[in-house]
């Protein structure tokens, strides 16, 4: 198995941590993984992204031109990366920050959900939107299980961040039952 995904949004939305959690969970499932952040002049509110590759065999390139999955948490990142999704690939979009009408692709599966609103409603924290989209991605794609994501959260969030673990788990599971929040997943046509 081989899966590559770009996670993208604004700096400060927890994009890099979200990718780290995904990669760590895949590692706990004994997969080969790489996590590669975008690297340049980074700042809060600017663009942030990372590429995660999960594979059952040794990984060559940690970056990909064409990707199977895209998590987008902002309008600029949607516009920048949607063209790189392979035909038949998956887009998980946080519609709280990007209008789903901006999605131009008809040949991919789209999960459009207001992750920030869901996060606020369900766990009382807007900033858990990243965990909601990650939960939705995992539940739909099956690249990692929600259980492993929870386990990875316990490994990754230590020290001051340890108190966030229950909230993170709840947000991941909200994302996991994303079908409650979207009318239907729009499947690939044809």
């Amino acid at each position: 198995m081989y899966y590559d995904i770009i996670l993208s949004g604004f700096g400060g939305q927890g994009i890099l941590l979200t990718g780290d959690l995904l990669a760590s969970a895949a590692m706990l499932e004994d997969k080969h993984v790489t996590w590669m952040p975008s690297y340049g002049v980074e700042m809060r509110g600017g663009a942030a992204s990372c590429t995660v590759v999960v594979s059952s065999t040794r990984i060559g390139s940690p970056i990909s031109e064409k990707i199977q999955g895209l998590i987008s948490m902002s309008k600029p990142s949607l516009l920048k990366y949607q063209g790189r999704i392979r035909s038949g690939g998956l887009l998980v979009l946080n519609t709280s920050f990007a209008d789903p009408d901006l999605v131009e692709r008809e040949d991919i599966t789209k999960i459009c959900l207001p992750a920030s609103e869901i996060a606020y409603q369900e766990v009382g924290e807007y900033k858990m939107a990243n965990m909601v989209v990650l939960g939705a991605f995992a539940a739909h794609s099956g690249v990692v299980s929600l259980e492993k994501l929870e386990e990875a959260a316990e490994v990754l969030l230590t020290g001051r961040k340890k108190k966030l673990v229950p909230v993170v788990k709840k947000a991941l599971n909200c994302g996991g039952s994303y079908k409650k929040y979207v009318r239907a997943v729009q499947p690939v046509k044809g």
């Binding site: 990669a23 080969h32 996590w35 690297y39 390139s61 940690p62 031109e65």
Partner: protein
Amino acid sequence: MLQGCVALAEGAIAAGCRYYFGYPITPQNDIPEYLSGRLPQVGGVFIQAESEIASINMLLGASAAGARAMTSSSGPGISLMQEGLSYMAGSELPGLVVNITRIGPGLGGIASSQGDYWQATRGGGHGDYRLIVLAPNSVQEMYDLTIKAFYLSDKYRNPAMILADAILGQMKEPVRLKKPPVEIPHKPWALTGASGRKAQIIKSLYLGDGEMEEHNWHLYEKYEQLQRRDTLVEIDVDDNADILLISFGSCSRMVQSAVGMARSRGLKVGFVRPITLFPFPHDTIRELSREVGRVLTVEMNTGQMWDDVRLSLHPGCRASLLARPGGGIPSPAQILSKMEKLLKAGDKVAEGIC
């Protein structure tokens, strides 16, 4: 899962390095940031020096006193260190210098580049010397080769360099932190205080008749020994391969992907990755180029390692270069299409940059 820079720092700790001297520069700041917290935990010393020139001379001093010590920087900072590196090689002092490269020349940029190959492998400073240069291509190797670099550096009493870039420094991958027993050899030459023994001197100045020539032949003999005993190379070659790809460092990861894609299309290909850039695996490449007959070197500069490849080639082997000098990363698809083009053209295609 660890970031490359952090894995390298942990490798240094595992190797028994307890002294770090450095001055900030992107994209290697994760190393001093991490070590500034980690070294005090293990009884070590972290010093942010006032400049790279100070850093390399602090390293020289710590090494002269017998300690395992390191510094790290990037392109412009490494250039400033060349005088100190030359003095260390001349004085036969070990020590680790890490270069997480930028794009040069000048202040250049912070994206990945392999443009410091010549500087690293040709010595860089004045005089007739070499550095021991190791080029990791994974986060695991950022850890393993750092330990190895300290070992080789002490063994040959010569400074060693880890040559990596932002991809390897920033990337996270799973790492097994094997903790080998720390083997710091006895250093009878170290300046540890002369009470109870004769005074010793460490220097690189030899003014007597013929002294310098003798000294340089002695250094040369060490580099010959390195070449014979401690050349490291990864080889993955199909039987009856039609083309041999040669690449090092982060760039070799893209080549590995391309090799996988080529094999899934039924092509017979070979892949060679020099892990030590000095000593360079000349013999391996000479032998494989004789068997395969066509070589494609892929690197993120205008063909610096290609020099060494061409020095190694079996006469008659056709050599081509795919070069991306300046932040651009050759994609596996680009490498594959170049491979296919060369194979299709057979003997008609001219040698050189393609």
